[in-house]
């Protein structure tokens, strides 16, 4: 990994003083993840360039004692790209310059100099725009070159790597500080665990500029690598004076961020992945509406023992728990991790015994018969079926309608017709990567009616979300009532 810093300040070789590195020698520093070399490819009075070359030892990273958390493969980009390793190296090798100390040229420290920094390769999966949004507000002229994945395979398209050149009149310590904070933000994959002192580091390094940066929320979020509590902590302290309107905004944004990433600090964001909820965020609380609608149906039908099938992290469970008319609630999900989060969110370990007895969380799959689901009178299946392969829906239908056999079933699923209203959604793609299908109203209704006939239910349909005259509402809900159950009511 190569970082070069150039200046045309006269005499340019003063850069050597500022960096505390002699332009005439190559200097090598040993770091706990490899080595750093500092040398000057050019050092004239007119222009001087210092290069920081980082040699990351990947094999040691995997096998060695100082085992880095996010690097579990030998084949990775760490040795080649600007990452938090570079920030750490800068802090060690250029610590005086970063902290604005220079005994021999004290005035230079406080002087804005014509500086240029070049990062040979930095990953930025969010694209060039994001790079610019990070650096331009800080007054840099930004030049960007994006590189192809493989020149022999042009059909593979662009790699997420950029060569970035930043130019501005800045104090050297400012430039280094900006790089120190923003490189890991771009890379989005820290190499060590996030702890409380990360918040302090961010606050210290961000003083005087980060609080004014228009992307401060995203910067904090990425820097702290998606650790929600740390993010909130940092944001609170960062904008302590502005509490009020701002806090609400932050809360809303934090909610939008993909929740499954909370524990997954090692996972890189998939290329082209658009978080489901983020896609729909323009419609305030569509998901809330869906959950509320499902809950209302169960309540109206007098369900006492209810199932939340595909309960995920427990949003609906939480709402159901608050409703006294539900005597017992069972949440099922195929993701064990989601259940663990649900357990935490619902504070199951702290609920009083009577409340605790009202709820059961189980790990299971809706394509397998499950005796634990029998004996309930209502079931909510909110935004779940579209995550099953269509060929497995017949198994799902039998598991739910034949074996679990509740009196009332609520199924919601996206209305594909509405997708045209999402500007960022390309035609022919789904709202979420894991969706196996998205149905039009007609497709959903014909499936639902066939299911109802097959298993002796009646079904009615309700749109969810703002309705458009042409394409309907963003989400659709089918309400199934067991025919025998209706008879009983009439009798």
């Amino acid at each position: 990994m190569l970082l070069t810093i150039s200046t045309t300040h006269q005499p340019a070789t003063d850069l050597g003083y500022l960096l505390h590195k002699n332009p005439t020698h190559l200097q090598t520093f040993s770091l706990n993840f490899g080595r750093a070399h500092v040398f000057y490819p050019e050092a004239t009075v007119e222009r001087c360039t210092a290069a920081l070359l980082l040699d990351v030892d990947t094999i040691q990273m995997v096998r060695g004692k100082g085992k880095a958390i996010s690097l579990d493969q030998y084949v990775n980009d760490r040795p080649y790209v600007a990452s938090s390793f570079l920030s750490v190296a800068m802090a060690e090798v250029f610590s005086s310059a970063l902290n604005g100390r220079c005994a021999q040229r004290p005035t230079l420290v406080t002087t804005a100099l014509p500086l240029q920094a070049q990062l040979a390769a930095i990953p930025c999966r969010k694209g060039e725009d994001w790079l610019r949004r990070l650096f331009e507000p800080l007054g840099y002229h930004v030049e960007v070159v994006q590189h192809a994945l493989d020149e022999k395979h042009p059909e593979w398209g662009q790699s997420p790597y950029f060569t970035v050149t930043l130019s501005a009149e800045r104090r050297l310590s400012e430039l280094l500080t900006h790089l120190y904070v923003l490189i890991p933000v771009l890379d989005n994959s820290k190499h060590y665990w996030i702890g409380d002192d990360e918040v302090d580091k961010l606050l210290r390094r961000g003083q005087g500029w980060l609080e004014k940066h228009p992307e401060r929320v995203q910067i904090a979020f990425a820097y702290l690598h998606h650790k929600r509590t740390l993010v909130n902590d940092a944001l609170e302290r960062l904008i302590a004076e502005e509490v009020g309107v701002e806090e609400a905004e932050v809360e809303a944004e934090a909610e939008v961020l993909p929740t499954t990433e909370v524990e997954e600090s090692t996972e890189t964001v998939e290329i082209g992945a658009v978080p489901e909820i983020a896609m729909e965020k323009k419609l305030p609380n569509l998901h809330e509406q869906r959950l509320q609608a499902a809950l209302e149906v169960l309540k109206e039908h007098g369900a006492k023992r209810v199932l939340d099938l595909g309960c995920g992290e427990g949003r609906l469970l939480k709402m159901l728990l608050q409703e006294k008319s539900f005597e017992h609630i069972l949440g099922l999900d195929v993701s064990y991790k989601a259940l663990e989060i649900a357990q935490k969110r619902l504070h199951l370990d702290r609920l009083p015994p009577r409340q605790r007895e009202r709820i059961t969380l189980i790990h299971g799959a809706l394509t397998y018969r499950d005796k634990r689901l029998e004996g309930y009178d209502g079931a909510a299946v909110v935004e779940v079926i579209e995550h099953l392969d269509q060929s497995r829906l017949s198994a799902f239908a039998r598991v739910l309608f034949e074996f679990a056999h509740p009196e009332t079933v609520v199924i919601t699923t996206p209305n594909a017709e509405y997708n045209v209203k999402y500007e960022t959604l390309h035609a022919g793609t789904f709202r979420h990567q894991d969706h196996r299908f998205e149905w039009t109203r007609e497709q959903f209704q014909s499936w639902a009616q066939q299911i109802a006939r097959q298993f002796g239910y009646t079904v009615s349909f309700v749109p969810i979300g703002p309705e458009d005259a042409g394409v309907g509402a963003p989400s659709q809900m089918g309400i199934f009532a067991r025919s025998s159950a209706i008879k009983e009511e009439n009798a």
Binding site: L149, V334, D370
Partner: protein
Amino acid sequence: MKITVPELSLVILIGPSGSGKSTFARTHFKATEVLSSDVCRGLVSDDENDQSATPDAFAVLNFIAAKRLAAGRLTVIDATNVQPEDRKRLLTLAKQYHCLATTIVFNLPEKLCHERNRERSDRQFGPHVVRNQILHLRRSLRLLKSEGFHHIYVLSSPEQVAEVEIEREPLWSNLKSEHGPFDLIGDIHGCFVEVRALLQQLGYTLSIQEQDEPRYQLTHPEGRKVIFLGDLVDRGPATPEVLRLVMDTVAAGTALCVPGNHDIKLLRKLKGKDVTLKYGIVESLEQLAQEPVSFTKRVIAFLDSLTSHYVLDNGALVVAHAGLLESMHGRGSRAVREFCLYGETTGETDEFGLPVRYNWASDYRGRAMVVYGHTPIPQPTWLNNTINIDTGCVFGGHLTALRYPEKQLVAVPAQRVYADPIRPLAVNSEPATLTAQQQHDDILDVADVTGKMLVNTRLRQQITIREENSIAALEVMSRFATNPKWLIYLPPTMSPSETSQAPGLLEYPEEAFAYYRAEGIKQVICEVKHMGSRAVVIVCRDEQAAQRRFGVIGEGIGICYTRTGRRFFDDLELEKVLLQRVHAALDATNFWERLQTDWVCLDCELLPWSVKAQSLVLKQYAAVGAASRVSLDQAVSALTQASQQGIDVTEVLQTYQQHQTLAQRYVEAYRQYCWPVASVDDLKLAPFHLLATEGQVHIDKDHHWHMETLAEICRADERLLLATPYLTVEVDDPASVRNGIEWWQHVTSHGGEGMVVKPLDFIANGKHGILQPAVKCRGAEYLRIIYGPEYDVPENLTRLRWRKLSAKRSLALREFALGIEALERFVQREPLRRVHECVFGVLALESEPVDPRL
């Protein structure tokens, strides 16, 4: 005094404190068979005499007793049990687990009890306690019979106690030592002509032996034995003749018989009980009236002697008229008898006024095959290792026999309709598209794949799947895997050969040969390892065959799925074309006829790598290549510039130039496994195991057979199908070994990933059991993709050599055993859940943490 105790019974000792129950129990039973209330009191309260702990002590005792009885173990209760309510609780338990209850009463002189208690320092209670107990005991004596004890023994003196000998008696239903072969015959209902014809067709000779009175004699050249499944009588024209046949052959030991509900009803009538004169009994009575009274007496004695069901052939076969739940196998209780006669009903009646039957077989999970009759059906079908063979002969259907162990059905048609069924024989007259088993298999039960699983395999005994792994597998299986009916196999992981110490190399053929040589294997086969993605391909002769054999409807003629059970192609049209091409190649080589099959399961590699691993190639491999190129080019250029300025950077520059070279070689390594796929013609399918066809898992053939049979098919479509080049090596012959090494060098220096070395036999045993079915030996350049561009720099290689293979090898063996087990179960037509637990197991094991680079 001899005391007979049924081998599975609850033995309840009754006697006051000090009557010697514990000593008696210790003398005659295993320590673990005896549950003592005193001991339980001690367990919960640290004091065996703490009477306040009694309720808890009995809760513990009951719990343990229940577990023992459920498991079919004789259990002795050592407590005073002098009160009827104490005994009632225990008798309920015995009934719940369908065990006979035996009691041994210690009705000993009061004085003796007092004396014994006095000798014990821990028994501080007064004499009134014992006096009371004896009072209750004496009152109980006459109640015991009506309380429901099967055997009652009363010991009245210490001498009698001392003389006791316990004899354990096998249950009447226990015929585990009878191994057959058997021919099981369903409901005859007085159809003598048909049963005679059926016996003849089964190869029996039926003759009449004239003694005092004529007697039927049945012989079979193979010494087979007939088992009649009951309902011999009623409705049909010749009930007495059928009875005579069955009675004579049972008496002669050439047949066995279990009673049916009609037989028992007739028995009750003959014994003078009042029964409804419906459902064909009138015919039986009329026919019997023609026979001498002595015959009727003989019938009564015979029917009275019948045992409700039999457990045969070491427990592998259970026969009962109306079937039997697993929990009732080999048990004796009224409930068991009732079930055997009537089966399970829902308590409702249908429009014909008949009880609605609950299909107990759909929940059956037992290992024993259960053969039964009772409910007439048009065609016998297997469901969960059970089969109903009552094909309604008396109603004009067939009389059916099942040959055991062959599982072959033999039937003769009824001569005519003798009676009209109350409920039409085939209410669902439309022909079922799937068999009962296939319909049942549409839905698997999550309970079978939840928690810690133990899977028994033929190759490697019991394999444990830990709960955390089954949790992971459930998620993957349900979110990504295809219809489980297709998943009859998942491939095992493969271990590399031991790490080579040769300079510049991590893997080298010598170590692979050495592994097998050390285990006493002479010949191995080296197969080119294709660098693509593993694919399991199932192709059926036509869509009907797919439906018939796999129970799938409208899913085409086959499937191509990945090592995790996921459909290989998102593009179903592409999959269809691929399967058609394989199908055509099979057609062209006369495969179906040669292997007498209408389906095949192939283990393959599908190329290019990039077709399945596209996102991995892009996100990881190409991306790292791009990053290295950009970064290293600039680093070298900056260093060169510095060098030109006269700064001494020689060493670093050289290092970076080397980085550059190795990164370029890494890029070249992955590139050759990637090419664009526009149509099926851009794909290559390389089958290397012909895993299974109808009736056979081809692990009894050596790898030459697999290679050659598959090569022939491949020749029929060389554009798509890729025959795997291979070489046989004699591991004890240095020249042959050298040849093998050179072959590997040649393969890997021409872009090959490497080779797979297998013992020539598909299943090979070494010094400590089954050997690795294959080890891989990968090429030096290929390993750059796995270990990183610079893995072979000496200082890196030294560190990388320290790798452990044992976890990977153990995993490979367990997965191999499970994969083969899945195929064998499928081929033997076992229920899908039995196949599924094996493939689920493979998937679960794959979630065990193992170094992914091995």
